[in-house]
């Protein structure tokens, strides 16, 4: 095991004890990137080679010079006896949907959103969560790939190819949209990663890549400097190798930000201190509505099935383990509006996406068509036509349609009411005076494990249903955590999910930590992703 394979907390402890230096940790990480990542995503990548098919391709931009400056600064502080910060020397990656200012002016750090339309954009400021991680001593090693503007669940829609591949099997997708984030953490190319979750975009790739992913409560982590998708749903959050790393990172990035008025004025708990308290007396629910899934059929119908047994088994086992540790498992919690999560999301997220994408017009920043045109409106159209890929175009068009005056009542207003119903399911489940009084709901994270490259991409309906078990909590705004919980018969990771009431991240992490400890000697935990074998 190399330094870059340790968890964040272990690294911080080694650094503080002066057993390793931040520069050594960074060098191990950069060496790993050199071994497994292959060529970085780019706009003009040419055809995929056989070698490409065996690599991870997590990165769009490697910021190794910036990282070296930061690592040296941490080592200087340690040498001078100063406090280097809670994330001192921990290498992390950033989903390339966050603006990062190129403070060291070394070779340019674009903020691309994995889109041609922003490929040349250099942000004049840094997103709050990134700034907080760097201020805490974290070392940013690079910006990682994603679905274009986060629109997807596989990363295949990125304009920067080759798109990331799953470190457990490079013929499979890493999930998305924080696919580069999850892949980089799984492959030891970053100990932590900053992702975003709008319908499951942290938890689904975390599940597919066998890492921990946290979608915090809406408003818990600032969106300042995040390139917007659906502003009422977007949540920045951590991807980490274990629960302690996720807790450490969330501690750093959470909290009020005067630059994002939707960050809530709620004190940030001490997530690490709460971790080891165990689950005795906690009430953890299971819902039949999370043990059945909806699958779109090729002829446009929707079929309901039981969850695959392989996906359900780790959830049941986790419930048994938590019960043995003193939690009370509450069965049959009704969450009847779960199945409407995707249909409502198709409406709400598209309206917000279309609104947010109007700003890309080839005037103030980003891509402008090189064609000579004499009319401003023609310039808009050509710039947007050439700059956006298919997925942004699809979202803009749907957003325009369902919010048009004559359809708005039928679609958008109705979807917003359905969101109230989804929220109500969670309110009833978590009501401390209600019939269930849950501290958390335990569910699978995804309906399947990672699918093969090219198997789903192109079918936008099937792709969206990959998020069916994660999206309800985005509608409701409540926090969720995905935890690795085993491997399927083909050796791909399976995830389980914990959902909790608003601002209950500490409890979810605490349950996650108890589960992690109860399974630490499991055989599957000893298996490494294929790219590391």
């Amino acid at each position: 095991m190399e330094l870059c394979d340790l968890s964040a907390l272990e690294l911080v402890q080694l650094l503080r004890a002066r057993k390793v230096s931040a520069v050594e940790v960074l060098e191990a990480t950069l060496e790993r990137i050199g071994q497994v990542d292959g060529r970085a995503g780019s706009l003009d990548s040419g055809p995929l080679t056989e070698e490409d098919k065996g690599k991870v391709h997590a990165f769009i931009t490697l910021t190794d010079e910036r990282a070296l400056e930061q690592a040296r600064a941490v080592d200087s502080k340690l040498a001078a006896g100063e406090d280097p910060g809670p994330l001192a020397g921990v290498p992390f990656t950033v989903k390339d949907i966050f603006c990062v200012k190129d403070i060291f002016c070394v070779k340019g750090t674009p903020s691309t959103a994995a889109s041609r339309i922003l490929a040349n954009f250099t942000a004049p400021y840094t997103a709050t969560p990134v700034a907080r991680m760097e201020a805490a001593g974290g070392v940013m090693v690079g910006k990682v790939n994603l679905d274009e503007f986060t629109y997807g669940s596989s990363n295949e829609s990125s304009a920067f190819q080759p798109s990331p591949r799953n470190p457990w099997n490079t013929g499979h997708v890493p999930g998305g949209s924080s696919g580069g984030s999850a892949a980089s953490v799984a492959a030891g190319e970053g100990v932590l990663s900053l992702g975003t979750d709008t319908a499951g975009s942290i938890r689904q790739p975390a599940s597919f890549c066998g890492v921990v992913g946290v979608k915090p409560t809406y408003g818990r982590v600032s969106r300042y400097g995040l390139i917007a998708f659906a502003s009422s749903l977007d949540c920045p959050g951590p991807l980490a190798r274990d629960v302690r790393g996720a807790a450490l990172m969330l501690q750093t990035i959470a909290g009020l930000d005067p630059r994002d008025s939707t960050t809530a004025n709620v004190p940030v708990e001490d997530y690490l201190a709460a971790l080891e308290k165990g689950v005795k007396g906690m009430r953890i629910g299971l819902s039949p509505d999370y043990f059945r899934i909806v699958t779109p059929t090729p002829d446009g119908d929707f079929q309901e099935h039981p969850l695959p047994a392989e996906i359900e088994a780790p959830v049941r086992r986790a419930a048994d383990l938590l019960r043995q540790m003193g939690a009370e498992i509450v069965e049959d919690v009704p969450m009847p509006n779960t199945r409407y999560g995707i249909p409502a999301y198709f409406v709400i997220s598209r309206v917000e996406a279309a609104s947010n994408l109007h700003r890309y017009d080839g005037v103030k920043y980003g891509y402008r068509t090189p064609q000579r045109v004499n009319d401003l409106r023609v310039m808009y159209k050509k710039s947007r036509a050439e700059g956006f890929g298919l997925q942004p175009k699809l979202r803009i068009l749907m957003g325009m349609y369902v919010s048009a005056a004559q359809y708005s009542e039928q679609y958008y207003q109705r979807a917003l009411r359905v969101r109230s119903m989804i929220r109500r399911d969670f309110d009833v489940a978590f009501d401390p005076n209600g019939p269930y009084r849950l501290d958390a709901l335990l569910t699978p994270t995804t309906p399947t494990t990672s699918f093969e490259m090219d198997a789903v991409y192109g079918d936008s309906v099937l792709m969206q249903y990959a998020d069916q078990l994660t999206v309800p909590s985005n509608h409701a705004g409540v926090p969720g955590v995905s935890l690795p919980a085993g491997l399927d018969s083909t050796g791909l990771p399976i995830g389980i999910q914990l959902l909790g009431p608003d601002y209950a991240e500490a409890n979810l992490l605490r349950i996650g930590r108890a589960y992690e400890q109860a399974t630490q000697d499991d055989d599957w935990r000893k298996v490494l992703p294929k790219v590391l074998r």
Binding site: L256, P343, Y401
Partner: protein, 106 residues
């Protein structure tokens, strides 16, 4: 079932969205939109209480946890050139664009 989004409606949407599409893109995108609408139609089967409020977001914001509006204070940008230099065409303090079409009113 016939397509809810006909080629005519689709062409109107493309124009509103300030896009231009190749015939292949248009065919793919229109088919995907109609497929997505089939999923969205599930919402129509849900009996909705008229009194049910719309939720602009999931988490409720009470006065206690909401931020006060910040003061309306002017803060100069330190290096405006860092912002201007992002413009695809910039000259002598102006962002340059092609002609803005105008119509003469009688």
């Amino acid at each position: 079932m016939s397509d809810a989004i006909t080629p005519e409606i689709f062409a109107h949407l493309v124009d509103l969205a300030a896009l231009e599409l190749s015939p292949e893109e248009a065919e793919y995108l229109r088919r995907q939109l109609n497929n997505q609408l089939k999923a969205i139609h599930e919402l129509e089967a849900i009996p909705l209480d008229e009194a049910l409020p719309v939720a602009a977001r999931g988490v409720p914001y009470t006065t206690a946890i909401s931020q006060l509006p910040r003061k309306d204070e002017w803060k100069p940008t330190e290096k405006p050139e860092e912002i201007f230099q992002q413009a695809p065409q910039f000259d002598d303090g102006y962002i340059i664009v092609p002609d803005i079409p105008t119509t003469k009113l009688d």
